[in-house]
């Protein structure tokens, strides 16, 4: 049986390593082969970018060589897929190599698309890339006071990021002793301050406590870079001195080019995590169109289910587990406190007050991530 994993991010790496562990005997005897195709030879711990943007982490600590994270029995190629031929059960890569498979896992992830809003690329700081996070930190450091606007496009990676960056901005300016010279205004596209209702309920009094202003139903139309004004689809505007953006995301271009899903999100069965219409194609992480957050933890829990199911298909010919929509998100509520949100398809999160121990748990997790992607945690 040939198993092919496309994508070497959190989801792809966990699934490949979990399969290598579960199918070690089959891989040794050659009954099963396991191949990963990725666009990069490096693996980035993406949640770390928010810390880089506030000078709390150096970017080089966020990377590991992808090959060093993979079990030795995984055949790894840095050669991204260009064409998916699902009916023929094969893919073709950038270097024109063809890989046939019996089971395919698509974990290509998502990308921000700030270029879809006029002025957003030039006019705003964003921490969704290494270069962006460093640039944002320098902008924060040079900031002497004035109006800071936070704008959010949906959907985006890491659902909690808008709230976290707001808390962090408040703490950062407070630590520098210029909080009283800074006005922070948060803009969110729907009619509450977060898409997860209980997160909105928890964050609202916190925003009030910190003196953070907010406008809901604010869908960014354009950034007037010259005059430093943001305009909404709803015809409201706000003049800023520093603009922090969380741009809307799409799935990867290759998914759209191959017409696998609108906006790059692949239609996926909620419980089996198979692509609609293809029982031998699994989808996980940001790549799905599921109503769960686009976060590493969703990818992690999905990967556990898929790896179990592929392994059981090899061993007993049938899948054995269902995904229940589980997501676990740390929420950094500033620079020394945190809480968490855990939820699934049926149960909304119940947020506890933030504390220091949870912050350290998150700090520890920033390191434990590397054993997590190896399939150890």
């Amino acid at each position: 049986m040939r198993i092919l994993v496309v994508g070497g991010g959190t989801g792809g790496t966990i699934i490949a390593n979990n399969l290598a562990r579960r199918l070690s005997a089959e891989l040794r005897t050659g009954k099963v082969s396991l191949t990963m195709l990725s666009a990069s030879d490096r693996h980035m711990y993406q949640p770390g970018l928010l810390y880089v943007a506030f000078g709390q982490m150096m970017p080089d600590t966020l990377y590991r060589d992808q090959a060093s994270l993979l079990e030795a029995s995984i055949e790894f190629h840095v050669d991204p897929v260009k064409h998916f031929m699902l009916d023929e059960r094969r893919v073709k890569t950038q270097s024109d190599r063809v890989f046939d498979y019996d089971i395919l896992v698509i974990a290509t992830g998502s990308r921000m698309v700030p270029e879809e809003i006029p002025g957003l690329v030039e006019g705003s700081e964003t921490f969704y890339s290494e270069a962006g996070a460093i640039k944002m930190y320098k902008a924060l450091r040079n900031f002497k006071g004035g109006r800071v606007a936070i704008v959010v496009g949906v959907p985006h990676k890491c659902p909690i990021a808008p709230v976290e960056v707001t808390f962090s901005l408040h703490d950062y300016f407070k630590t520098r002793g210029i909080r009283d010279k800074v006005e922070i205004k948060y803009h969110y596209p729907i009619n509450r301050i977060h898409s997860i209702e209980n997160v909105a309920k928890w964050a609202k009094p916190e925003f009030d406590r910190m003196g953070v202003a907010y406008e809901t139903l604010f869908n960014l139309k354009e950034v007037d870079v010259q005059n430093k004004v943001i305009h909404s689809e709803e015809d409201t505007e706000y003049a800023y001195d520093l603009l922090i953006s969380i741009p809307a995301h799409r799935g990867m271009a290759v998914i759209e080019e191959n017409r696998l899903g609108q906006a790059g999100w692949i239609p996926t069965d909620r419980h089996q995590l198979t692509m609609e219409g293809y029982d031998n194609v699994y989808v996980l992480g940001d790549t799905t169109n599921l109503p769960v957050s686009k976060t590493g933890s969703a990818a992690h829990f999905e990967a556990e289910v898929i790896a179990d199911n592929i392994a059981s298909i090899v061993k007993i010919g049938t899948p054995v587990r269902e995904y229940d929509g589980k997501v676990y998100c740390f929420i950094e509520a500033g620079h020394d406190q945190a809480t968490y949100a855990m939820f699934n398809y049926l149960n909304p999160p119940d947020l506890k007050p933030a504390n220091k121990s949870m912050h350290w748990f998150k700090m520890s997790y920033n390191q434990m991530y590397w054993s997590s992607v190896r399939g150890l945690l």
């Binding site: 596209p189 729907i190 009619n191 898409s195 869908n219 689809e233 709803e234 169109n289 109503p291």
Partner: protein, 76 residues
């Protein structure tokens, strides 16, 4: 009278249906009516609030079976 353009946002979840409506509204002409189909309960409350803030016009909202049919006319 322009014809009604139907946007099927069934089986997408908050804030998906509202975002779909906003996307299509940008492309529509003033006077056009859009009909949003949604299975998400939240949309029934979100959409009228958004429509009111922007200044478009609610034409109707009704639930047929499991699906909300929300009609909005572009006013500006």
């Amino acid at each position: 009278m322009s014809e009604v353009k139907v946007i099927d946002a069934c089986n997408t979840f908050c804030p998906g249906p509202l975002m779909e409506l906003i996307t299509y509204m940008k492309q529509a002409q003033i006077g056009d009516t859009l009909e949003l189909l949604s299975t998400d309960q939240g949309s029934a409350a979100d959409v009228p609030e958004w429509v009111e803030k922007v200044g478009h016009q609610m034409v109707g909202s009704e639930k047929i079976g499991d699906v909300w049919h929300i009609k909005v006319r572009k006013a500006k």
